[in-house]
Subunit: 495 residues, 2 copies
Amino acid sequence: MSNSDNYHQLTRTFQRLSRFSHLSAIASWDMFTMMPPGGSKARGEALAELSVLEHQLLTDANVAKWIAAAQQEDLNDVEQANLREMSRLHHQASLLPESLVEAKSLAGSRCEHAWRSQRPANDWEGFAENLKEVVKYSREEARLRAEAKGCSPYDALLDVFEPEMTSARLDILFADIKSWLPELLNKVVAKQSQQSLIAPTAPFPTAVQRELGLETMAQLGFDFTAGRLDISAHPFCGGVPQDVRITTRYDENELLSALFGVIHETGHARYEQNLPQNWAGQPIALARSTAIHESQSLFFEMQLGRSPAFLKRLIPAVTRHFGDQPAFEESNFIAWNQQVKPGFIRVDADEVSYPAHVILRYEIERALINGDIEVDDIPALWNEKMQAWLGLSTIGNYRNGCMQDIHWTDGGFGYFPSYTLGAMYAAQLFSAANRALPDLNHAIAQGDFSALFDWLRQNIWQHGSRFTTEQLITQATGEPLSSRYFRAHLEARYL
Amino acid sequence: MSNSDNYHQLTRTFQRLSRFSHLSAIASWDMFTMMPPGGSKARGEALAELSVLEHQLLTDANVAKWIAAAQQEDLNDVEQANLREMSRLHHQASLLPESLVEAKSLAGSRCEHAWRSQRPANDWEGFAENLKEVVKYSREEARLRAEAKGCSPYDALLDVFEPEMTSARLDILFADIKSWLPELLNKVVAKQSQQSLIAPTAPFPTAVQRELGLETMAQLGFDFTAGRLDISAHPFCGGVPQDVRITTRYDENELLSALFGVIHETGHARYEQNLPQNWAGQPIALARSTAIHESQSLFFEMQLGRSPAFLKRLIPAVTRHFGDQPAFEESNFIAWNQQVKPGFIRVDADEVSYPAHVILRYEIERALINGDIEVDDIPALWNEKMQAWLGLSTIGNYRNGCMQDIHWTDGGFGYFPSYTLGAMYAAQLFSAANRALPDLNHAIAQGDFSALFDWLRQNIWQHGSRFTTEQLITQATGEPLSSRYFRAHLEARYL
């Protein structure tokens, strides 16, 4: 018997699990991009069956035994980190009975599928009925996890997406943002109201937008031998590291809305495509957390994509694709693409008002999961918070209010904070990269992103889940997460 | 304990298996239509892992126990038929060790993936190396099956695709065809050489061809809420009955090549979409066999699609999509689309020379699996048989010779005879429908296919695998399979 037999048994089990995750990732991508409506029920059942299988494999008694025994084995640093992640995944799964895993998966598929037509129909009552089922199972999940962890139900869900994160810590970070963001937002809106901008003249044909998107992805290093760009109602990055599937949606009235979506998802995609291939199939090769994932997409979209240097470089490409327009004059083009305009829709929000959308959802989902409110309370709370933050009423406007996002439809409670955590990480990372790479701004203006991407590869991508989030970010930037880089970034760009 | 407990345990197991087959079907469709090359290795491993899982579930000791016990239970006719199919699938799987299932799946994925670039490069040596691996595992499979069944290795593989069929019976059917087809082919070619036809003027843009295909699918009753049309190098019908995925490929120089491919796959698709939904997930709800499946596609493509009445009705649609041309004059258009031209490529072959392509492959694959020849012998044999049947040399022309088909790449030995069996079944079924529906030709000329499709639904589609092939065809047509309807059809249409 070798001195790492138990560890090697575990690597075989997780290898197998990763192959089933591959099929689940592709079938899910297909569900959002390709599947006709008639396939929905059978697909939901197939994916639920696979969830149950994965749950069985992950919670098998042998896995517990091997984990305990492997902790006594002679493992190197990488193996120890992999074992830590295996143990985390095993314990997370072991807290849930198989029946709950299946019921939650089925309720989520049903709710998501119905939501696709309920949202355009503004049918809150129909949606609420399905959502209550989803919330029931998510609360049960949260209760079981919370009991084991000794924390609040919501914190227990947060921990699945964002290990180490707690609502106590989020409250501090978000309280800080709340202390300066409303005033900053007012100042920026007031300042920008002085601008008189020339709007781009539509239409912008979908096929041309797609070409511009593909060209930009190539410039940003997307590997097309290991991924694709498609269309879905709700843009996402899915698939597997060897075959990353990103999506966008096109509006022929909007010049760059789809493109910035593509740039955002390309950030996610490059992280996935550059995860450590030599550990492929093992938990250590997975992305660190949802917030770190968001940090990469927002690094691409906001830190890089909406920087004046990058925007300036976009103009010749935009002109080549759509013909010249007065709106494409440099200062107008940059200002147009840096507009701050509080609105209803999170995914269309500028980076200054974005945290309002996230904190609002965080407060509502936390109350919902902790049992302080019910599904029926959501619309009124949504309206109240939108009024308070952005001065917008969502009364009766469910489709652009509490029905706009896909996350809750399949029980993704605890995900939303990742967006603003990601924005903070992105600002902190960009600041560190800027210090490490003195010619960065000049290189970006030249369209040379190689040093920047090398820096991300060295500091984030290649590590997968080898380090904890706190270790990763401290090694990369010299300190733990701080909101001050995000504030400094917004002030520098918009004031 | 109820009197059908064991049977119900089996239905749960097969329900679960059908959900995993769903994922495998979608991931396979994706592999041929969407997947970038970098995903190939991981996809192959994921599909192999799923094959192993399905094999484990199907060969579980409980399944054998339940089958034995269920045979003593009080089951109705449908349940008994379902149990017969369950037992067949269980026994087929039980003959193979898990290691062989996995090795065969991996070797097949590798060979298929490499073939995609080896075929255009005419790289027989590279291909042969992978094919030898595939043949090794297929021979091993055939040996194990043959030992259990007490038949030749090739017959054992044939039985997987086409239950009850033997090479002895095929030899009689094919000998009959060989006795009259060469002469018929010569006569038709001689007769058609008198024609002076106007060729359609290319190009025919892909997007327009696709529109015509979608419109024709709709007319043929394809349910777009439960299926899609996409592109792949080798057209196929995949997916699941609730979500049928058909593909075609476009050549802008060819007027209707893609369309007839679409009509062919629509025949497969309507069979799938009309399998018995109330038994969904059970073996009895699956299509009867590959030859019956082919009979539906050839019923649509050849019996219906290339009939003068149908072709005549196509002219206005073709003119609307591509503009008018002299080639679209009625008698010219019909004659153009009924041309018999012996050529290299099976999938492009007319229905008169098609059996030559199939019988050639049957003879080679039978010798290969039975160990009478080796992979290295294939090109010479191919050339010899193409010379004898169609007067064409394939020396050095592997890409249009023995490398043209996908079937052998993943070990689908025993499938090819289904094409000509399907053509015979299709002719026999159309003849029976014609007798049952006196106004059929008039209805087709009017574009009213409802009675024809109702007849297929009643006689074939709704039965799934409830009856054996022989029962099914005898009930539908009054007699077992006979080659005389196929011969009569070819003589009536082409002489």
